[in-house]
């Protein structure tokens, strides 16, 4: 512990600005508010601030971040953005340090976000103990009004002097080189606790329960509480609460093309779960469309979803959301306190399932690899199959049920289920329905053209679990696309003996929408395989030998008496409306929930559990899914809504 007189602290700050070669940012006044901004002189530094408008997350996940630059005049050219700016942040409050450490847990997990990681490494944090408490802050009750670590240096104002707690070698070196300090006296060191106790006494807002477990339980017990409806009826849907939040780190990604049409960049920018289109998928479906559900999601994410996953309350009590929210409905403190009147001893992990291990893509998680279109085959009016292969012919290494993120630079990126069996690697198939910009562009590409691929991503089918079992595969519409990967894997000559009979039920809208007709004809010829097809409608004159009606109507044709439910595994993939009815049929024939597997569709934007778009309650569809065991996911209220 060191001490420094105030004039010397100013000299230290000025030396940091002038001599270190680092970009120095510090807290400064903006009108009557405060912001982190480039610091030109120690005179502008306001260590007495209460709270900044935006948290320092902007230095690690910038509002607009060029992730990579691409060229459109070359066949396939992409360069990841270099992140080598070294920076010093002066005046970070403890609660913001806690928020950064929470963000680390997500962004520096087994699939590290390389941009974030570099920024974290290149940044020196000089914290300051809180001198003025914001009216809306309740950090005191959460214990985030001080920290023992997470900083390089921590300043504490003890009157005429500042005490400096050294948090890292980097911080220590800076002090040695640029500051006039003395060893702190024992009496001075004791001042720190006094300062922090004073801060704690200054809070006007207090949250009644303060540990992650209790928040979690309380929220789960009150999932259907009327508070969500009442409060959200006052919500403007402006998402200001998420923008200013230090623990909101969801993002969107867009491709920007220059006016010369020759180059561009892929930009990520802050997104918020309160916004209507946050969950919108390519086909136009919006999950969690109801404002009440979006409003509730934010609180659950803070107090239950992240809390269960990582063990912390993903709210540090800074109060920024309450300041930003015009109708004053954003404060987690107010909501939690109100909920305590209702009490709750819910099963706190109800909306969360254990994370499955899944393939870990090496290298950067954001920059795609070049893949070549080996074959393009029109399957139906709307769907076309693309056979792809990495340029370096390395296998994708996928399991049935996994997906890839496919990029066309200048247009964007979207997830596609892999449709081919692992045995066809190094080439692999995706089947694409023309719905938006990316898919329309993809349709214009030819054999030999290149696209970007990230993956395989997500949790696929654990095919070993299916061995020695009878199998029932039920698909609806485009659900057949990922199902084909699983079917062909199981019917592969090398694997066939591992599985018992295979029953395939498949429903499409019209006869002309039926995918893989020739493949299906091949499957039917295999031993112990039954294929039953149905269409919703069949126009006069259309050639169709299958059934007409919903896919559930095929179940009676399964010869139920010959099904051995205890030794059967069933897989269901289809549009959201289909699941409920098909699963009911499966249950009726005696198949246990734990023997039913589903693959769900959500907006899987990053594919690595960061951007937040694909969340089904506390579950990331892109990580724990898209393949789920039905027994595990059936209680998630958002799964089959």
């Amino acid at each position: 512990m060191k001490s420094i007189v105030k004039e010397d602290l100013n000299s230290f700050v000025d030396a940091l600005i002038q001599d270190t070669g680092y970009e120095v940012h510090g807290v400064q006044a903006k009108g009557e508010k405060f912001v982190f901004a480039p610091l030109e002189s120690s005179k502008d530094l306001r260590l007495d601030y209460d709270v900044t408008i935006l948290p320092p997350k902007k230095y690690f996940l910038p509002q607009y971040e060029d992730m990579m630059n691409f060229k459109l005049n070359k066949e396939y050219s992409v360069t990841p953005q270099k992140v080598d700016k070294k920076q010093i942040l002066i005046g970070v409050h403890p609660y913001d340090i806690v928020a950064l450490e929470q963000t680390d847990k997500v962004y520096l997990d087994e699939q590290k976000d390389d941009f974030y990681e570099k920024r974290r490494k290149n940044t020196i944090i000089i914290g300051v103990d809180i001198q003025n408490v914001s009216d809306q802050s309740f950090a005191g009750s959460l214990g985030t009004h001080y920290v023992e670590s997470g900083f390089d240096l921590m300043l504490t104002n003890i009157g005429k002097k500042y005490l400096i707690t050294i948090g890292s070698k980097k911080g220590e070196d800076l002090l040695k080189k640029y500051a006039q300090t003395k060893d702190a006296k024992d009496t001075e060191v004791k001042e720190i606790n006094k300062v922090r106790a004073n801060t704690l006494n200054s809070y006007k807002k207090h949250v009644r329960i303060t540990d992650a477990d209790s928040w979690s339980k309380l929220l789960v017990s009150n999932y259907e509480n009327s508070i969500w409806e009442e409060k959200s009826s006052k919500c403007l849907e402006c998402s200001s609460c998420t923008m200013v939040c230090p623990t909101c780190f969801c993002y969107d990604v867009k491709d920007d093309v220059s006016l010369n049409l020759q180059d561009g960049s892929r930009v990520r920018t802050w997104d918020g779960c309160l916004l209507k289109d946050f969950t919108k998928v390519g086909s136009g479906e919006v999950f969690r469309e109801d404002l009440k559900k979006r409003y509730r999601h934010r609180f659950f994410r803070k107090g239950n979803y992240l809390a269960e996953r990582y063990g912390f309350i993903a709210c540090v009590g800074c109060g920024r959301c309450s300041i930003a929210c015009l109708p004053n409905i954003a404060s987690p403190c107010d909501v939690i306190n109100e909920l305590t009147h209702f009490g709750g001893e819910g099963k706190k992990d109800e909306f969360f399932i254990k994370q499955k291990s899944h393939s870990d893509e090496k290298g950067t998680i954001h920059v795609p690899r070049k893949a070549i279109i080996k074959k393009k085959e029109k399957l139906t009016e709307c769907e076309t199959l693309f056979t792809l292969e990495f340029e370096d012919k390395k296998p994708l290494g996928h399991k049935p049920g996994q997906f890839v993120e496919l990029s066309i630079f200048g247009v964007g990126e979207a997830p596609f289920g892999i449709s081919s069996a692992p045995s066809t690697e190094p080439s692999f198939d995706v089947v694409v329905r023309k719905v938006g910009n990316l898919t329309s562009k993809l349709f214009t590409l030819k054999k030999g053209d290149s696209v970007g691929i990230r993956g395989p991503l997500g949790n696929g089918f654990d095919v070993e679990e299916f061995e020695d079992k009878h199998l029932i595969f039920v698909s609806g519409g485009t659900g057949m696309i990922p199902m084909r990967s699983l079917i062909e894997h199981c019917l592969d000559k090398k694997n066939r003996s591992k599985f018992k009979y295979v029953k395939i039920l498949y429903g499409a809208k019209r006869p002309c929408d039926v995918l893989f007709q020739d493949k299906i004809a091949g499957w039917e010829k295999c031993e112990d395989v039954t294929c039953k097809l149905t269409v919703d409608t069949c126009q006069d004159g259309e050639c169709w030998v299958g059934s007409v009606g919903l896919v559930t109507a095929l179940f009676p044709k399964l010869h139920v008496d010959r099904i051995d439910p205890k030794n059967t595994k069933a897989v269901v993939i289809g549009p959201p409306v289909m699941f409920k009815f098909v699963i009911k049929c499966l249950q009726t024939i005696g198949i246990d929930d734990k023997d039913i597997f589903v693959s769900l569709e959500r907006r899987m934007k990053c594919g690595v559990g960061k951007c937040g778009h694909c969340q089904i309650n506390g579950v990331y569809c892109c990580k724990e899914g898209p393949v789920f065991n039905y027994a595990e996911i059936k209680n998630l209220p958002e799964a089959f809504e």
């Binding site: 903006k30 509002q63 009826s233 402006c238 200001s240 289109d277 910009n437």
Partner: protein, 252 residues
Amino acid sequence: MSKPKVAFFDFASCEGCQLQIANLEEEVLDLINIVDVVSFREVMKEHVETYDIAFIEGSIMRPMDEERLKEIRNHAKILVALGACAAIGGVNKIRNQWDVDNVKKDVYGNAKIKDNKYFDVFKTKAVDEVVKVDFYIHGCPINRDEFKKVVISLVMGKTPEIPTYPVCVECKKNENVCLFELGKFCIGPITRAGCNAICPSNGSPCEGCRGILNEPQDECVQEILERYDLTIEELKNRCTMYNYGKEECKDE
């Protein structure tokens, strides 16, 4: 790739949105590398009747405007409403608060305009109240960057993406002090973003020139008015500027 032919047309407007395009300055050179501008009264004297993309500035005020607009629609493969007057009616719709004949009397007094088609006005309409609009570039004036993005998208055969989130999102990213905290009434929370919050970032409250996105519920409006000591009249005035006729401007 052959360059799409682009034409600009103006109706009741200040032509400020076209001026924004003229103000692209050296970038105009990039622009004419990717499109072929065949008609643009503000910057060139040539005019050709064949074009792929028509940009329409201004609101529709008279039967003769309607005829001309329909003609343009027939010629154009893609029709884009350029700026608030075209996209939502904008300031020209303020006039719709009053009876057309009274407005004429107020403005022209006893001048003889009765059989003059140029003065034969009806209630102001946005472009999409007359013909189908394929894409919108919002704002008063338009944001040049957004205009460029839309042109790039159209040339690349993409559907332009226009924000569906409110100005607050951009305003917060710019780290502005919220204007409500300065005692000003801003309708950024309910206005479509895409302007990079240019007004609030420069201390002026949002007037809603890019159109209202969400209609907040009454409970919400009440709460905010009370909390910030504002009146419903202020809200109405704010919404009337560009969004007259929208639901939320109804009386209490």
